[in-house]
Amino acid sequence: MKILLVDDEKKFVIMLSKRLALRGIDVDYAFTGEDAVKKALSNRYDVAVLDVKMPGIGGIELKRKLSGLDPGLKIIFLTGHGSENDFKVGAAEAVHYLAKPIQIEELVKILYEING
């Protein structure tokens, strides 16, 4: 299973990717939407974990772009905001939606769930 982590909080992305890697998950990460699109062009991912609010290309827009490149790509949204509106949009757009700070076990569980 190969996943792509996208968040503008660099240290957060690095830490999370290291933790997932420790759990045997192949993780790639990007700090911006543009970077993520570039990475998606050259690699194939099973799941993309996206922050909803990012400078430049936001999570929702990025999800559309990535889905355009690979319709089979599954999406999990992360947000620091945790508001109901975000949840609604997120739930409509993606498979799953998690509020920061997240529980790594929950994320791992969901990753395995959506990948069958």
Binding site: M15, R19, L22, G80, H81, G82, S83, E84, I104
Partner: protein
């Protein structure tokens, strides 16, 4: 009796008289409604009553003036008529004497028998003559006809004789003379063929004159009499002294015409005095005709009218004042109530704005904290992973404990920020049918164990049968959960918690949650729904629980109130509508953080 009267007065007291909501004061347009009320009454009263009173006074003055001139005119007319009569009376008698001296020979006049015959004829013609005499130039009476024995009397030093000799005619004042009976002397001087003169003198009784005068007396307030030019009363007067007394008022100024004027008499009463100096064509007389009318008496009819007008104006003024007072009270009260409604809205808006601002702040803070929290979480998590997954330092329990406590703290912070965000969140309502009984037992299920463990008795009192409302299940659950949590935190072991739901009104359901816990001092009660207000130890409560509860109740179009006593317990009362109309939840809650 007094108590009842006071209670009655209190019940009609307008609202603005007992303004109680001090906290609304800054929002009122006017500071003092009592003052507006009084100023209103005074202004309206003055503008209504001043013209009324002014017109009444002017009217009085006008009436007074016209009455005065009417009275003067009437008095003048009476005086004028009486003057003519008195003048005529004197003239007639003087002319009669003149006729006698011109017509009858001197020789016949001095014949007593002849003179008596003439006297008899005169008495027949005019009446009121008591005697007739002929006086020689020397002053000796040469002939006399009448009841007194006066022949041979010498009048040469008498005033009337001297005056008559000088002026040819003479009319005396009324006087008593030798005979001690009031009488008037009239005398006519005539010449004999030899050039010497003689005087024919007649004595007039005053009765005829008095009768002539009294004929002009009109009404009981009028007094009509003669005085001499020196002020001696000549004929009987009702009010101004007896005959031959000096009149006790200033003598009128000479005027050839009949005059009338308003003066005051000796008794300081207002009178209308008409007077005329009596003067015949033949001779002047010493008489002044006086007509004195008591003004007070004449004014009786006007006084009655005054009384009526005063009553009418007084009653009218009272009615005007009452109507003005009632209108003013009504208007000021309306103004006050409208203003109060406005003030309440303003206060509410301000409160909501405060809450909204705090909500925005909360959202911002929560969001900003979530990112570093996430980073701390992942970093600490990674360190933990390094120890657990790579199994290098697995055995270091102390380190594990520390990392776990960091992660736990992060979780706790996460809960707080989520709560903050929940407070800032736009509340969307999902309406469904809810049985209040079910939801209460759902909520209590969370606490069954704790209640048993802490020996807290929980009583639920819900009426038999379904008690259904249409509302948002999740929100209502959260409300009840928050309040029950609150109660559990407030009670000690062995205390009691009562939850009671009832429908007292077809449109509302009331849920009462009361505990027998520590309670709250009264001064805290108004603040407990404010954000970040807490009495718990720092770190134990966020101070948002009841604020969120308040927001949720409002969102469900309900009301929440609280009663509490220190060491006796606290009671929360929630009233919710049995149904929320579609579209009612569109008026977005100002608690929304975004």
């Amino acid at each position: 009796m007094m108590v009842r009267l006071r209670a009655a007065l209190k019940s009609i007291r307008p609202d603005f008289h007992h303004q109680t909501d001090e906290h609304l004061n800054p929002y009122f347009t006017f500071a003092n409604y009592d003052k507006i009320w009084i100023i209103g009454i005074l202004l309206l009263g003055l503008t209504a009553l001043v013209p009324l009173i002014a017109v009444t006074i002017l009217h009085y003055q006008l009436i007074q003036k016209s009455v005065d001139s009417e009275l003067i005119l009437r008095t003048e007319r009476v005086a004028s008529n009486a003057r003519r009569a008195v003048t005529f009376f004197m003239e007639e008698r003087l002319n009669a004497l003149r006729f006698i001296v011109n017509e009858i020979e001197y020789a016949q006049l001095v014949d007593s028998l002849q003179l008596s015959e003439i006297l008899r004829n005169l008495k027949l013609g005019f009446g009121g003559l008591s005697d007739l005499s002929v006086i020689a130039p020397s002053g000796f009476q040469v002939a006399y006809a009448g009841p007194f024995k006066l022949e041979g009397k010498n009048y040469s030093d008498q005033l009337w004789f001297i005056e008559c000799r000088k002026h040819n005619f003479y009319v005396s004042e009324i006087f008593r003379g030798y005979r001690d009976v009031p009488h008037i002397i009239i005398a006519v001087k005539s010449y004999r063929k030899d050039g010497s003169f003689f005087i024919l003198r007649a004595t007039l009784e005053t009765e005829r004159l008095i009768q002539t005068l009294t004929a002009y007396e009109t009404g009981k307030h009028a007094d009509i009499f003669l005085i001499s030019r020196s002020g001696i009363i000549q004929t009987p007067s009702k009010h101004y002294g007896s005959i031959f007394e000096k009149i006790d008022m200033p003598l009128p100024e000479y005027s050839p015409r009949t005059e009338a004027l308003i003066t005051t008499d000796d008794r300081k009463q207002s009178v209308i005095t008409g007077y005329a100096f009596i003067s015949t064509q033949i001779a002047d007389t010493p008489f002044i005709l006086m007509v004195i009318k008591q003004k007070g008496g004449m004014m009786d009819i006007w006084k009655e009218l005054h009384f009526k007008i005063n009553w009418f104006v007084g009653a009218g003024a009272m009615v005007i004042l009452i109507v003005i007072t009632l209108t003013c009270t009504f208007m000021v009260n309306k103004l006050f109530l409208a203003d109060k409604a406005k003030a309440e809205t303003l206060a509410l808006v301000e409160q909501n704005n405060q809450l909204a601002a705090i909500g925005q702040l909360a959202a911002g803070v929560a969001h900003e904290i979530n990112n570093p929290l996430a980073l701390i979480n992942e970093t600490a998590g990674y360190i933990k992973d390094l120890f657990t997954i790579t199994a290098t330092y697995q055995k270091d329990d102390e380190l594990m404990e520390n990392i776990d406590s960091i992660l736990e703290a992060v979780q706790r912070c996460g809960r707080i920020t989520r709560q903050l965000l929940g407070f800032a969140r736009k509340f969307d309502i999902k309406i469904q049918k809810i049985d209040v009984k079910d939801i209460v037992s759902d909520v209590l299920n969370f606490h069954n164990k704790e209640a048993a463990y802490r020996n807290i008795t929980v009583n639920v009192e819900v009426p038999e049968g379904p008690l259904e409302i249409e509302s948002d299940r999740g929100k209502l659950q959260q409300i009840l959960l928050n309040l029950v949590n609150n109660a559990f935190q407030a009670v000690k072991e062995g205390c009691q918690l009562d939850i009671c739901a009832k429908q007292e009104h077809p449109d509302t359901v009331t849920i009462i949650i009361s505990d027998t816990g520590c309670g709250m001092p009264e001064e805290n009660l108004p603040k407990i729904f404010e954000p970040f207000f807490t009495t718990k130890q720092s770190g134990k409560g966020t101070g948002l629980g009841l604020t969120i509860t308040y927001g949720l109740v409002k969102k469900l179009h309900g009301e929440i109130s609280v009663k509490s006593r220190v060491n006796e317990g606290t009671t929360f009362i929630i009233t919710l509508p049995t149904r929320i109309e579609e579209g009612q939840n569109d008026n977005e809650n100002s608690l929304s953080g975004r």
